[in-house]
Symmetry: D2
Subunit: 335 residues, 4 copies
């Protein structure tokens, strides 16, 4: 199966490298980026990619290419989904599809009508620790799900310049956790209530955002949940989930680079967590691409559908509204 | 220092036993219970208590007795605080003081005017694991507090008969966590938002209560927090706190009876948590009584004051209102 | 059941206090110590002990007393066992019975002939963590035992004065681990090989002892094992066991005062271990006395018999010989 | 830097793949294997290797090739080291160099005289968990090293056919741990004492080997240590090290695929360990090759020298002798 990659930035390169070594079903025929440079060309050759171009159409118009990876900037995601769908290509698109709900719907609908696969890049669903909790829940080991708790904290806030265009903490950061909540619960969220505070950097507050947030969730099936986010954890990435149910509680501990501990006169001391996202989720990026290849090769539903791309955006919209209005907001209010 | 105990039920007996062995500054002169029976008398003798009576006045009117432990039923707490205060005795009273806020205020005010010590039995403040997190926070090890998370789950729901008179999950169960939240934050809660569900026992719903609840908290200092409660955790008592701040995160793991684990073909298996509250908080009951004795002997402020007894009741009132009205409620609305 | 305690030093007091509160079947009638003083008398009264004496014969000759606790200095253990047995009293004796093997045998034989219960104070068998591993092994959860590993490290070496009369690290410290090894294996040790080094304090070497030691064990049933000891661990008491078998591995982690951990820029930091033996084994002392009371009350074999007192002494003798001769030594060589 | 790989079996392929993706300084020009087949050719092409041959001389005689990886069967290691050294090529050789000590010395000496780099494939030195303990020790965090403990257990014994030609458990399995012991101690072993048992499979005993073994170590600097090995752990690979010293204890926990745990009515249950060696040491194989490339590129000493290849073989010889003769054996006896 020949694939093309649109966008050769950081994430595009990660996918290219992973496909070349860990996804034998796929062969990257072309990589396109308007800012293609020598370094990227050298990288592409190393990955065995023969066609290097600045024009995404070289991929979209190539009848040999069966699948497209959209790794370009967020504002182009929906456009490329629509064009790739119309060209009959299966699509892997980084999250989010778009911030504009009409555009999200159009992209999803176009892919659906074209009968192509669409997978959204919610990579955390493929993380070894989160997946293991998910498996416990799906196998019925916690019984009926009652409470879901998700913690997600970043080592450092992004630049203020980025914060201003990011759409806010709910669209930019918590969107992963909104996806995780639905994924773990196996039920749709009906209402959210958000509280937030500016505790990390006053500049984030001046940009109209919060840097610390808690969102409670009500699920259709009666379960309740809560997500907490902070833009800055001095000890590194902190990503944990907990699913408490009628028969037990599945939870994971934060991922750490090694298990060594030192016991001395000051106590028992283990290492810090990951400080770099790419180190933290190395395996998840590989697994999501293997799953995409598998969905195409074996004509299965992709494990993260277009609808899975839509709902977290709805939740982010509702959470943003809740924060601003100081009241719980139903998902139906923002649909 | 001679003390008297009003109420010889389960908790009165725990205090009696602990004082007799672990609080050498105190001598229990009298224990009073209207339902005094032979078994309790035998127990009292074993603890070296000479006076056994059915009449609490034998304690309140005894000029030799310096301190009173109020371990009777909740509806008598405020009355005995007022009487003991008027009799000039230092007071340890089990939580809560009362559900009626006017009565709570009257009890606190009377003790204040009488110039006697008043300590409320929020024993979890003295638990080894919670105290260790508290110490880390107070020593500045997490920096400025940003997020507080508290999990508290019981092994089994109480009887439906009890649920009906308990005042509801916020007054009866989460009240300990409300206290813990204030204790850890070192700041007052200004607003709560409660969501809840009936997921454990439909009978609890029919009694007008929920059995699973999440309450978010806003603190005066900008911090935010969340408490989750469930009436039933199949693996036993689950009590954990987490304080996340600008310089780190202090958290404890659930308390377990032993550290043994078995690695076999099915995985790595440790034991279940405590199933009996008295086993879980053995040390906490001893420590709170030692602290009470210390406050009297050395004329210090008690570590859990009357005001500390008031605020959790306010929070429970606000959470109850929030749950019923489906909106965030400020503490000032219920004061 | 009335009991007498011979020896009112630290360990005698611990047993007295524990019996008075946690062993309702027993009543301490008399405590005897040649160095009885006012402080000890006050303590005894607090425990409800009426007879306080300097003469152990007041216990041995008292027909009302059914059981004797021998908590005097090691050199008197065998003598009092013999006298108490001849007086027909059940006996709890602190370890070791004696260093002289003939004396050990005489004591055991006398108790046997007299038909009285004899329990030796190997308290670690009753420790919550070690017992949990033992239970896993006995319930067959590790299958056939293949390897036993025991770590035992003290916070500080004893005084050099004590080291000189202690009999050496194998008699004084590793004797607990020799007992634990037999206890866990359910099989007798047939050969030991000891290596040791002076790494903590040169004074210990000058006194003819080592302060760091490793002893390998061969068991009758084919299992093999190893014990490591150090006189000084800066992080506190470190006591862990591991039993590896055909169906799994049971192990415990070291016991710590609380579960709180701090994650900060330096890593993840938990507290130090216990620094005081009495804090580390609080529950074990209670449990062993309850087991002794139970053995008498229900006419059962004691859980640590005279033979259990003999074998660790044999192992210590063999380990000492092995260290000196630089070769493996069979237990049969020292019997 | 152009490299050649001699031997395209499992380990040769792992190195080929790792170099192609993770070692940008190296380019694999040629891979040689007498049993070269279509599947291997396809694999090689995927890795971007142009020359595929059955004749190792195509590598040894190629003046463009700077470094050779010897991944062929053990009996050819020394021969290829000698030939590659004489051809002036830097050498990475899988362990062990040889079982015959004269041959080991000849190989090391030839490489030394030729002035080429020689690195032996003791991959565990590069494992994330073991390396983290090593770093703690080297940074002085445990102070002076007193005790070293190493556990190493495999999920399944190798086939009996293999056992018969393996050289025995000390040469085949514990050799990794002998290397680890020296690596962690920073001191040479002077004496070993081995005990062993046939507890896993009687066939192993019939083949003249043991399947369960404990070896104690004396180090030149006074430290002591112990290694335990079992051919079968039902819960998967179990590899842990512990270094106890004057200022603390560095240890790691076994590596597990994920951190998820399930708390239910049966206890707290985590997943099993790795069952496949290649999964357990994925990162270590990458790191050792990066270190080899770095040693050549920057003209540094390799991190695992020829001497590091020699000593574990000496220790295996001494342990074998000790097991057979039932006595401690000095390394000097087998040199």
């Amino acid at each position: 199966m020949k694939v093309g990659i649109i966008g050769a930035g950081r994430i595009g390169k990660v996918h290219a490298k992973n496909i070349s070594m860990f996804v034998p079903e796929m062969e990257i025929k072309t990589i396109a980026d308007p800012f293609m440079n020598e370094e990227t060309e050298a990288f592409a050759k190393r990955c065995g990619i023969s066609n290097i171009t600045k024009d995404a159409n070289d991929i979209l118009n190539d009848p040999e290419i069966e699948a497209v990876l959209i790794c370009s900037s967020t504002d182009t995601h929906a456009k490329y989904i629509i064009e790739a769908a119309n060209a009959g290509k299966n699509i892997f698109c980084e999250k989010p599809i778009a911030y504009d709900l009409a555009l999200v719907h159009e992209a999803i609908d176009t892919a659906k009508k074209a009968g192509v696969k669409l997978q959204i890049g919610f990579c955390r669903r493929f993380d070894h620790n989160h997946r293991a909790v998910y498996d416990m829940v799906r196998e019925g080991k916690v019984g009926k799900v009652n409470i879901i708790k998700i913690s997600s904290r970043d080592p450092e806030p992004p630049s203020l310049a980025y914060v201003k265009v990011s759409g806010g903490i709910f669209y930019d950061m918590m969107i992963h956790d909104f996806d995780m909540a639905r994924f773990l619960a196996g039920s749709e969220v009906t209402e959210v209530n958000a509280i937030g505070s500016v505790l990390v950097d006053p500049g984030i507050g001046e940009a109209g955002d919060v840097d610390t947030a808690l969102v409670t969730l009500k699920f259709e099936n009666g379960a309740i949940g809560v997500i907490d986010n902070s833009r800055k954890a001095v000890y590194g990435y902190d990503q944990r989930v907990e699913v408490f149910g009628s028969e037990g509680c599945a939870q994971n501990e934060n991922d750490i680079p090694n298990t060594a501990v030192l016991s001395n006169a000051d106590g028992k001391i283990g290492g810090t967590a990951y400080k770099v996202m790419w180190d933290r989720y190395t395996g998840a990026f590989v697994s999501e691409m293997q799953a995409f290849a598998d969905a195409i090769a074996n004509d299965k539903e992709t494990p993260v559908t277009g609808i899975d791309g839509l709902y977290p955006v709805l939740m982010a919209a509702a959470a943003t509204k809740s924060l601003h209005e100081g009241r719980p907001v139903k998902i139906s209010e923002v649909e």
